[in-house]
Symmetry: C2
Subunit: 464 residues, 2 copies
């Protein structure tokens, strides 16, 4: 552990970048621009989605806006903007110091808010409002602990708040997303006598979120749980929607649960310490939302990809916000993946095969998804479901994001097939895939395709 | 394995007894007698409970009664008797060969029926109606597999039903209710390519039910699941209500999920192969229902304990049915154990300490619960919450059931305390206990007791 710690602290990441969050493009006019929803979203889903842009809770407390308490006021029909920047700015003399966006995930009694903004880890009320009981277990990893653990503990105890905080630090990497490592979380929870009213906090990327979430789902048959995602991948995708779990040596995420957090707290400042490769990995999921359901967002990415990679703050915040809105809408419409939710796995069936086939942790998840998305697009093109122009746009944006556009040479056709055969989306022996079909922003989830196209795609991308 | 089979088949249980089920005492008049609910059951709970006594599904098919499909027609206010023996007997020339009782567990979209009757494993439609998809994984143990596995497989495939059936046979005993053994279920599921539409079937006692249920809850984030309990303990308690999980070396059932089955199939014939010690273990939970909420049932047990132990069929069937009705009512009122459901754990906090302290598998669960119930009764007596007469009745019926009335000599006060400190019912540092209070059939779930009484009870039952 010490060795890991030492090598990480010597990595060349700047921690001095100043974050300059203006709340993103959608509120630049001072009025909420409805960027919402595209064809593939059902009316129910769009009706259930609530989105609001509000100031920090400290600021909001002055105006007694109901939105600040976390957005469980229930849904109403149509796009419901519960507060917008313009309304509030009319009332205050000067703009407040910090801004926060809330995206609500509407799941009935399992609904929760996603708080997005700069410096949210320094707003103790946010965390404290969602902690129940007197005990907290923070699950984090050896990379993130030295960067943010103390800050989260300070936030939890701020103002003399009486809460007992314990933490467990896991090794960093997808290869540690195993039942064996998960047992360390249970061990720590039992040793420190975490009880049914305790709260688990996931502080880290997708691996930590999935493992901590699954530990929370299964410890004492379920305890409270908060997500603090610190990677772009986790902020735009894995921390939202309640999928939790660990890998099995034979397949990714084979053991897990649907288990929703109390809230998701996205402090965009944490992206400042993220390695470039991890940032690009997250971008793979951002691209995905554009492809499956949000053509405008894809076009925005085509204009702004270099600003994302350069970590322009307002660009990043907007990418996170719009990604979370897309994810929240899909999850609200289909929490347990009866159908629609599966579309969020564009490129993932090929990608999971790459991750499993090359050994967990060698390729980052988003890297595998990047190459997997190209494979899915290639297959869609072979089926005649998309045109060559769209394929080329996908290829181009993936390359600009510095993501791989093909699987590693170690993957052969047989390896792909054997791993894909145990994919979670196999039903009654048929492999269902998410494929693009029609103009940009449209996809299908289907087992009704010519298997020759799949064969051809695999053969095209593999040497043997 | 063969040795077990031989010894079991030579046991003096008649398998030629005709089941003479009139649905138990409550329908002996040919009209449903509402035996329901006692003080501790909320009005909501009683309104949600549905119970019906109907003939076998083969017979019912002739009359197109909706009840036969499994009772998910939703709840209505008040006691809803959806079919009763008298109604059907009016329509048929002669009574059908076999009778089946259905107890519905009413949990909204997670509702399911408990089928109770003799020879139900020989009624293939019951199982086939609740299997979804084309693949089934039966999880059983080395004791039960030689006795019933072939029969269940035959039932699943009866009539040329196209379903692929796999099985995994675990070692028998509480000491194998571990994450390590659970991994064998995941391994088998992945190797045999069980997909999201598959069904897991738990064939065995409480350990198998808990492990298979938890595997079903977590494999691919949740697949269908059927309980076929083969011990009295599982039939009257553990198979009903959706508690699943495995033990941690430091505490019982520390890792698990609330996960409801598609149905529970209780074939009372399977009790014919149950060892006497296992039968007595199950009786501990039957006694519990009487003590916590059903004084009439307790009094019936006082009259019938020897007939239960002698395996008188109709007596056993009634004990199972009324136990399931009690459990279903409590679970319907409080699925996730916010409060009321905890009362089902009378004697279990002491009992779990005994099981953990002596090493899983040395004492049967019901044996530990038996001694634990005496300890809880002793503490209730010390608090002045019950009178000496009630305590003596509890002591007497426990002795008649051939259950232990004190913990093993290896348990000392400190060991009890250290294990009870990590009990799931600890909240914010306080140990909540289920204690008897008032006349027979009443209990409380509370942390508001004089700890001296707990100390005195522990010291009374332990040498050091």
């Amino acid at each position: 552990m010490e060795a890991v710690k030492a090598s990480l602290s010597s990595q060349p990441f700047s921690s001095t970048l100043n974050v300059d969050v203006e709340g993103g493009l959608d509120i630049s006019s001072g009025r909420k621009k409805v960027i919402w929803p595209r064809k593939s979203l059902s009316k129910v889903a769009s009706a259930r989605l609530q989105s609001s842009t509000v100031w920090s809770s400290k600021e909001l407390a002055k105006f007694s806006l109901p939105a600040v308490t976390g957005g469980r006021q229930g849904s109403s029909v149509g796009m419901h903007i519960r507060a917008n920047a313009a309304q509030i700015m009319d009332d205050v003399a000067a703009p407040p110091r910090e801004e926060m966006t809330i995206v609500d995930v509407d799941l009935g009694d399992r609904s929760y808010p996603i708080y997005i903004g700069k410096g949210l880890l320094n707003q103790p009320e946010l965390l404290q409002n969602h902690v129940h009981g007197k005990k907290v277990l923070i699950v984090t990893n050896s990379t993130i602990a030295p960067l943010y653990l103390d800050r989260v503990i300070a936030s939890l105890k701020d103002g003399g708040n009486k809460v007992e905080v314990e933490s467990v630090i896991l090794p960093d990497g997808e290869q540690y997303k195993s039942m064996e490592v998960l047992m360390k979380v249970y061990d720590k929870a039992i040793e420190t006598r975490m009880d049914r009213r305790c709260t688990f906090i996931a502080l880290g990327g997708g691996v930590i979120g999935d493992m901590c979430g699954y530990a929370a789902a299964s410890y004492l048959r379920g305890v409270n749980f908060i997500q603090i995602p610190t990677t772009l991948m986790a902020q735009v995708d894995s921390s939202v929607g309640g999928k939790t779990g660990v890998n099995h040596p034979l397949g990714k995420n084979m053991i897990g649960a649907f288990y929703q957090p109390q809230c998701v707290l996205v402090d965009t400042e944490t992206l400042n310490t993220l390695p470039d490769r991890e940032l690009a990995s997250g971008v793979a999921e951002v691209i995905k939302y554009g492809l499956i359901r949000d053509a405008d967002f894809f076009e925005w990415q085509e204009e702004n990809m270099e600003k994302i990679l350069a970590r322009d703050t307002s660009t990043l915040v907007y990418a996170v916000k719009r990604s979370c809105e897309n994810k929240a809408a899909v999850v609200a419409a289909d929490e347990r993946e009866a159908g629609l939710r599966a579309t969020l796995n564009l490129g993932h069936t090929f990608g999971h095969a790459i991750e499993t086939g090359t050994g967990y942790g060698n390729w980052l998840h988003g890297e595998a998804v990047g190459a997997g998305t190209i494979m899915a697009a290639d297959m869609s093109l072979r089926l005649g479901w998309i045109d060559k122009d769209l394929f080329n746009r996908i290829l181009s944006i993936t390359m600009r994001a510095k993501l791989p556009i093909e699987p590693p040479s170690s993957m052969d056709v047989q390896l792909f097939k054997s791993i894909m055969a145990v994919d979670k989306k196999v039903a009654d022996g048929l492999l269902r895939l998410i494929l693009l079909k029609g103009p940009l922003g449209n996809c299908v989830f289907t087992a009704d395709y010519d298997v020759k196209a799949l064969e051809d795609t695999l053969r095209h991308f593999c040497k043997s």
